[in-house]
């Protein structure tokens, strides 16, 4: 766990937006700007994807990102690499300590597999991603690869087990990323109610951007 606090003050942010519980949000960030994702009430997974806004075929690549840092979790200092091998963003501050990029996003279909067939019609992150992408027009299903789950805790055991633990986040914890390119950021503020990734109670999250 590597905790790095930020010196940035919310009053100087050039942009702020609160994402209500369970909703998507898609926005642009310019190279050099800093984005903070703020867990307002605690234990809220924020499913996030990054794309180059100049070439949206270039997107976040979890396997390259983990391989280059030789570590299974994301945290302060992690560089998020693209499928073209270039840096998209760097985690420059983090008060949570660990973020997941192996667990993916929930979907109607995976909910039927993981929990029960009758969970198909509950709201999900993939629905959020698709809805935001198709309205936006620059992205579609094809572009939705494996995402980051900020504030989610998915430990891998030495024997190769994968467990979903209670969140290690709390109200007011945040992660900050410096954009290394002009980016599209696609977020689903996770609506999952079937596991502890949102503390059984999805809540709002805030996005802040500084120049």
């Amino acid at each position: 766990m590597h905790i790095i606090e930020s010196q940035r003050v919310p009053e100087q942010a050039v942009f702020r937006h609160v994402i209500p519980a369970g909703e998507p949000y898609i926005f642009n960030v310019n190279a050099g700007q800093t984005v903070r994702l703020l867990d307002l009430e605690g234990n809220q997974a924020i499913d996030t994807l990054f794309y180059s806004s100049t070439n949206p075929r270039e997107r976040y690549d979890p396997q390259r990102t983990l391989r280059r840092q030789n570590r299974a979790y994301l945290g302060a200092g992690s560089v998020l690499y693209s499928n073209l091998g270039r840096a998209l963003a760097t985690i420059v501050a983090d008060t949570c300590g660990r973020h997941d990029t192996l667990g993916g996003a929930c979907a109607q279909e995976s909910n039927t597999v993981r929990y029960a067939l009758d969970k198909r019609y509950m709201h999900s992150c993939r629905d959020n991603f698709l809805c935001a992408c198709l309205h936006d027009g620059r992205l579609n299903k094809r572009d939705i690869g494996a995402n980051i789950n900020f504030f989610m805790n998915v430990p891998v055991t030495p024997e190769g087990g994968l467990t979903f633990e209670d969140g290690i986040s709390a109200a007011g914890k945040y992660v900050e990323l410096r954009a290394e390119q002009d980016l599209i950021v696609l977020i689903s503020n996770c609506p999952q109610l079937n596991n502890p990734c949102n503390g059984w109670n999805p809540t709002a999250a805030e996005v802040l951007v500084w120049d």
Partner: protein, 243 residues
């Protein structure tokens, strides 16, 4: 995880995929693919899609979290993003297939092994996983966006208590094999290249044998289907697709 010894299993065809080679084909519903490490130390990077509707693709995060595992072995299923089973691992003598390592691109291969161009090396040139998989995917009119997290068969990467990766050499011996049974028509894209975290300093990819089998009953997938309730539901979803 062995099958009913009385079940018929016709060998349809086999061929060798040379080290550095890439291939793609539709593994039809009811068929199995046996991939054998001929010399030991092979690695096969693999991507899968629904052959009828290729917007449906292998989803490794769903595969891992649905089965609470980061390693893949016999009894596991490979899920699509639509909650269906693209392939079931019906047999496996290796015990650990990797989900972390991904594939290297041309620049990363050059950094790791030095320059190895066609101009000097002809067909021994240094291939890379990204280009090999992309070329095969292009043959099916697929694109860069369809190259997602891949499985690395025959390789083992463990994670210690601090989250650090450790490549484990010698995971696969000569003759080790994995058998993938397809409960739906599955487009398989693969390439035989060294694992990206393999510390071996030289470019020396190993060959594998591909064998296609026709299975005549559900025996081959029975154990995978019932290995955990998530897999029962994923098979249910697969059958729902075939209504």
């Amino acid at each position: 995880m062995s099958k009913d010894p009385l079940a018929l299993q016709a060998r349809l065809y086999e061929e060798v995929l040379p080290g550095g080679g890439h291939a793609s084909f539709i593994l039809k519903r009811g068929q199995s693919l046996r991939i054998t490490d001929i010399e030991g130390g092979a690695n096969v990077s693999m991507m899968m899609l629904n052959a009828q509707q290729p917007s449906e693709r292998l989803n490794l995060p769903d595969t891992l979290k649905g089965q609470h595992t980061a390693r893949l072995q016999a009894g596991h299923c490979l899920y699509s993003d639509m909650g269906r089973v693209l392939a079931a691992i019906t047999e496996d003598t290796c015990g650990w297939h990797d989900s972390f390592g991904g594939v290297l691109n041309a620049e990363e291969v050059r950094e790791k092994y030095g320059q190895g161009r066609y101009q000097e090396l002809r067909n021994g040139f240094h291939r890379n996983g990204v280009d090999n998989l992309l070329v095969e995917m292009g043959k099916w009119n697929l694109d860069l966006q369809d190259l997602l997290m891949v499985v690395n068969l025959f390789s083992r990467v463990s994670v210690d208590a601090e989250g650090i990766f450790h490549f484990v050499p010698g995971n696969s011996k000569a003759g080790d094999y994995i058998e993938l049974a397809a409960p739906m028509d599955t487009l398989i894209i693969l390439t035989a290249l060294q694992h990206p975290m393999d510390p071996h300093p030289h470019y020396a990819p190993r060959p594998v044998r591909l064998a296609w089998l026709q299975t005549h009953s559900d025996d081959s997938t029975h154990a995978c289907r019932h290995s955990r309730p998530e897999n029962e539901r994923a098979f249910h979803n697969t059958e729902r697709f075939h209504l």
